[in-house]
Amino acid sequence: MIAASDLRKSYKDHLALKGVSFSVAPGELYAYLGPNGAGKTTTIRIMTGLTRPDSGLALVAGRDLLRDPKAKACVGMVAQTINLDMELSVAENCDIHGRLFGLSRQRRREKTAEWLARVGLTDRAASPVKTLSGGLRRRVMIARALLHEPAALFLDEPTVGLDADIRRQIWALIKDLQSSGVAIFLTTHYIEEAEALADRVAFLKDGLITATDTPKNLIDVIGAWAAVDLTGKSPAAFFKDRESAMAHAACQAGGVTVRRTSLEDAYLQAMGGGALETAACVGDKPNGSAEKTAGGAT
């Protein structure tokens, strides 16, 4: 269980977090989405004990990370950058992590073997990390983060810079972890990643969570169907049903396609980066709730 309550953090004159609260249940994957500078990494750094907030509460497995240093033993973290010792082998990197978390020699050996097997790296245990590809290094980081069996796992952009095939492999691994009961907190710039993996999604904007719900509900808020101008000249319009979207598309000059609304559409609406098109046909109004979400964007 991960719980954050009213987290606030400022850097000099900049308010990075303005009162963020959320909770993640065991076995749940919570995706935390926002543009650069929204406060995602600051949140993760606080929740992993790397940064102290100005105020607020950060709990993992019921233990207060800010007052109980040993509570960090409940936390696993996969950082955005590859923070492995390149000169050391995969197994040595895992061994050092096990030592840092106080695992016995026997336990370190068992857990290293177990997790390297789960991420498909048993045969690379003795290889120096510098000889591994980016995707394999990410897998090592995931195995290392889980070596001490944390109750909560924080994934900060775990697939950044990886090609589509490797990303899918990492997704499968994350899905597998979910089923083992770990509470997973994920930040990513790949919205489709959040859509594919997350049980719930939060949109973070300027240090505040503006929406939290399941991907489906966040999509339904703006309308499950989108009429999209392929020329890119007009913004997408969203509708509750396919028929309304088709009717809207039919009365446009052309180049409008109808598709299911994606989480990315909902995200862009929430961030104010998208806008609703004014209905051009009588009786063909875009989804009212979507208009509300758009917040007056034009």
């Binding site: 102290r52 960090k72 923070n83 030592r99 840092l100 106080g102």
Partner: protein, 245 residues
């Protein structure tokens, strides 16, 4: 705390073992050059403190080299912190700042003592007469303790590799040349000797030199090295804790 410190120390030792040839070569080159240029060229014709210049120089080189190697931990930490981001791996673990600092300082002391051993080996190869007893190694170890603690503290202050280079140029390099390595500080004018007497390396050089000649080392020298090292160690813990804030 000890378990955490040993984990940090273990990582440094693994890396040191992986780079052992490069490290040992690096530790040997500069002292070797100093021996050849100063020790051998001047050593046969000059005497200082009742010993040959080479015998005078050797303890100074031990102090200088153990200082350099212990202080090089600052660069190692900065690479781990700013380039590889491994520092975050330590800070995200239950290992607290005190254990982290202890692990890094122990690694710095180890490097300092290995560098001292390299110089002792070079000195023996050159046939220089000196004693490397317990007090000799105590001096080298305390010197390394002070500079490794200083290294961790400085590594927590700087924000880039460039800052680190500037600090090294302004603190370590002048100390290396002025701290009694190459000449007896007592021969300098009073005011200069007083200023140089403020440098910890001066006291380490003196303690190691006296020990190498089997002469008594004043308690004040040991006391100063212990107190200065302890203060730097505590400063390093404070600054490491502050990094998280």
């Amino acid at each position: 705390m000890i378990q955490g410190a040993l984990a940090v120390y273990y990582r440094e030792m693994l890396l040191m073992r992986r780079r052992s040839l490069r490290l040992l070569a690096g530790m040997a080159v500069s002292p070797l050059l100093y021996f050849v240029t100063f020790g051998q060229a001047v050593g046969h014709s000059a005497q200082l403190d009742g010993v040959s210049y080479a015998a005078f120089l050797l303890p100074g080189l031990v102090a200088m080299s153990s200082m350099m190697q212990a202080y090089s931990m600052a660069s190692e930490i900065n690479i781990a912190r700013f380039y590889f981001r491994i520092f975050d791996e330590f800070m995200a673990s239950p290992v607290g700042p005190a254990a982290y600092v202890l692990g890094e300082v122990l690694a710095g002391v180890t490097r300092g003592l290995v560098a001292s051993a390299v110089i002792v080996a070079i000195g023996m190869a050159f046939g220089i007469g000196f004693q490397a007893g317990a007090l000799f190694w105590l001096g080298a170890g305390l010197n390394a303790f002070f500079f490794a603690s200083l290294a961790v503290a400085m590594a927590m202050i700087v924000r880039t590799h460039q800052d680190q280079a500037i600090l090294t140029n302004f603190i370590i390099t002048p100390m290396a040349f002025l701290g009694g390595t190459f000449f007896p500080v007592e021969k300098l004018p009073g005011w200069a000797a007083a200023v140089i007497g403020l440098l910890p390396l001066t006291h380490a050089s003196r303690a190691i030199r006296l020990a190498s000649q089997e002469r008594p080392v004043p308690d004040g020298e040991w006391g100063l090295l212990v107190v200065a090292g302890f203060l730097c160690f505590m400063l390093a813990i404070y600054l490491t804790r502050r990094v998280q804030d």
